[in-house]
């Protein structure tokens, strides 16, 4: 079985996180994030590590980890494609993009490819509604204005082990008439 531990540098960093709050319980979210960054998920054994590190009951850490959707309670693909299908994305073709990606990767939303490269999720509004349809990759980069060609390109980039580049938010001003 894999063993999950924080090293000395990480434990020092956790002390700094705790110092931002009046008590150590408040550090549970940032420390869960740290753990997920390091291990790729927060499976029960990782939750135990977080509980031990912060001297909290395991049940409390489980309660928090399970409440928030971005913590991966099980192993996910190397790249998680979070396709927004909410409101503005829905009416701008979000489901078409989701289905195109599902077809392309041969899996459904909620599943992971056999080689462990990709997971797909259909997610709620990501706060990029004006650039719909869009998706986020593994809790990180936003990819706006999706169409089939762009999806193809992004998946190609990811297959080469690279993240797509950060896209600045478009600055908008009305066209002066």
């Amino acid at each position: 079985m894999e063993k999950f531990e924080f090293n000395k540098a990480e434990r020092d960093h956790i002390e700094k996180i705790i110092a931002r709050y009046p008590d150590s319980q408040s550090a549970v979210m940032p420390v869960l994030w740290m753990a997920q960054e390091k291990f790729g998920h927060v499976e029960p054994d990782v939750q135990k590590l977080v509980a031990k590190t912060l001297d909290l009951p395991e049940a409390h850490v489980y309660g928090v980890a399970s409440f928030y959707t971005q913590y991966y309670k099980e192993k996910m693909g190397k790249y998680v494609l979070d396709v927004c299908t909410c409101l503005s994305c829905q009416v701008c073709g979000g489901y078409d993009m989701l289905h195109y990606i599902e077809e392309k990767l041969g899996i459904k939303a909620g599943e992971t490819t056999e080689d462990g490269m990709f997971s797909i999720q259909s997610v709620e509004c990501l706060g990029a509604c004006g650039y719909a349809p869009m998706m986020q990759i593994t809790n990180d980069i936003y990819v706006n204005h999706l169409d089939k060609a762009k999806v193809d390109k992004v998946i190609e980039t990811l297959k080469q082990g690279k993240m797509p580049e950060f896209e600045p938010i478009p600055m908008r001003v009305a066209e002066k008439s």
């Binding site: 931002r20 709050y21 009046p22 008590d23 319980q25 408040s26 550090a27 549970v28 979210m29 940032p30 869960l32 994030w33 409390h60 309660g63 928090v64 409440f67 928030y68 959707t69 971005q70 913590y71 299908t85 909410c86 409101l87 503005s88 829905q90 009416v91 701008c92 709620e124 509004c125 990501l126 706060g127 990029a128 509604c129 004006g130 650039y131 719909a132 986020q136 809790n139 990180d140 980069i141 936003y142 950060f166 600045p168 938010i169 478009p170 600055m171 908008r172 001003v173 009305a174 066209e175 002066k176 008439s177």
Partner: protein, 427 residues
């Protein structure tokens, strides 16, 4: 009122690299913080009054006067006091605070510090939704730079003021945008909203006096301190003044975030600012301020302005000014079902009317959407809404009920048509 065509953005002015602290300083940045710290007349009470008189209404959805909210904080008793800045931004259709994180983070930081001065705050916690990782990095950099220059921390700008500022990263939960849920989340718990009273000013973060303000709300504060409350109330709509970040999405030619005075005509925003509806189609509906605000019919938009009063008269709300424009081809049943799916997914489950109600709304709408609905299901929907509204710990249940209630009322023909086609039609 100034013509919007000549309006120059103040929250997101087009100044290159304004997110960098030295550029921000060169453009007058942190001078308003300096002013309140050094000018003897700018007592905390005076600053609070200026903001109150400016009638700066919260940009997070509820539209409450920010200065008035600050004045609810009890007198300092020596113990810690907090601001929680709300950057959870998760109401579908809302995407404007992110603009401030990317293009003008220091304006927000300066506003938060002036608020901290006005309320004798010891620490500001900036709660940002976890999905905004790239923008959390930007905010953290801006905060680090402001610390390095002595704008945050101990003895701010050589004064006696001490204030810390920390970013707290959310992890995917819409409900954490509700202010008491946000505080629970900051305390390292599940984001269950608290029963009010006690209100946050009495018993907030870690049991101490706390004020929660939206990011855009706080970003307006330096502008008010600089130009005065009268100047602010002269911008845009009388009862709801100031600059507004309009996040416009859906079927328009140029969607995006635009800064204009409050009280813009909806038709002007669509036709003149966003270049009209895609493909020259007709508008079926407009959701004016995020998914919870009742959709307006496309044929009822004449003269309706984006401010609390005008929208109330038209039968909706300002919300977050996250407008979604829906063209004539939009399937309203599909749309409302998807909104219900969202609220069901995001209900924290504490209150039965909300936990079960959101589920029943979604299920019933799915049935109608799939062509298996009966006309009486429309009455059922309205009854479920009635069971939910005003009967829960927080306003999520109301937010879930309104779009359903008003869509069924305003687009009833479309819902009925879907039911009549159904195999179980009774009417």
């Amino acid at each position: 009122m100034q013509d919007w065509r000549t309006y120059e953005p103040l929250l997101i002015p087009s100044i290159k690299d304004l997110h960098k602290i030295d550029v921000y300083e060169k453009n007058g940045g942190y001078q308003q913080l300096k002013k309140v710290l050094s000018d003897k007349e700018q007592t905390p009470e005076a600053v609070t009054n200026t903001v109150k008189n400016a009638n700066l209404r919260g940009r997070g959805g509820a539209g409450f006067n920010a200065g008035l909210k600050w004045s609810f904080m009890p007198k300092p008793d020596g113990g810690p006091r907090y601001i929680a800045a709300n950057g959870d931004e998760s109401e579908p259709g809302t995407f404007k605070d992110r603009m401030i994180f990317e293009y003008n983070p220091h304006l927000f930081i300066e506003g938060a510090l002036i608020a901290a001065y006005a309320m004798s705050i010891d620490a500001v916690y900036v709660y940002i939704r976890g999905e905004y990782r790239s923008w959390i990095t930007m905010m953290q950099k801006a905060i680090d730079d402001a610390y390095a220059k002595g704008y945050i921390g101990k003895g701010i700008m050589g004064s006696k003021m001490n204030c810390e500022m920390y970013v707290h990263m959310g992890a995917g939960a819409y409900i954490c945008g509700e202010e008491s849920s946000l505080m629970e989340s900051l305390e390292g718990k599940r984001g269950y909203p608290r029963v009010k009273p006690p209100f946050p000013a009495q018993k907030g973060l870690w049991g101490r006096p706390t004020t929660i303000n939206n990011i855009e709300t706080l970003a307006n504060v330096p502008l008010i301190i600089k130009n005065g409350s009268e100047w602010f109330t002269s911008i845009g709509a009388k009862g709801h003044p100031g600059p507004v970040l309009y996040g416009i999405s859906g079927h328009v030619n140029r969607p995006g975030v635009y800064e204009y005075p409050s009280g813009m005509l909806i038709t002007e925003l669509i036709n003149d600012v966003c270049g009209g509806v895609r493909g020259g189609k007709k508008i079926k509906a407009v959701i004016p301020g995020g998914s919870s605000t009742p959709p307006l019919r496309g044929d009822s938009l004449d003269g309706v302005r984006m401010d609390a009063d005008s929208l109330r008269d038209a039968g909706s709300m300002m919300g977050t000014a996250g407008m979604v424009i829906l063209d004539e081809d939009t399937d309203m049943v599909d749309l409302v079902w998807r909104i219900s799916h969202f609220y069901h997914h995001e209900s924290c489950g504490q209150c039965t009317p909300c936990r079960d109600g959101t589920g029943w709304l979604e299920k019933t709408l799915l049935k109608i959407k799939n062509g298996e609905g009966e006309i009486r299901d429309l009455e059922l929907l309205l009854d479920i809404c009635f069971q939910m509204e005003g009967r829960t710990i927080c306003a999520l249940a109301d937010a879930a009920a309104w779009p359903v209630r008003y869509s069924v009322a305003r687009f009833r023909d479309e819902f009925e048509a879907r039911c009549k086609k159904s195999i179980y039609a009774v009417a």
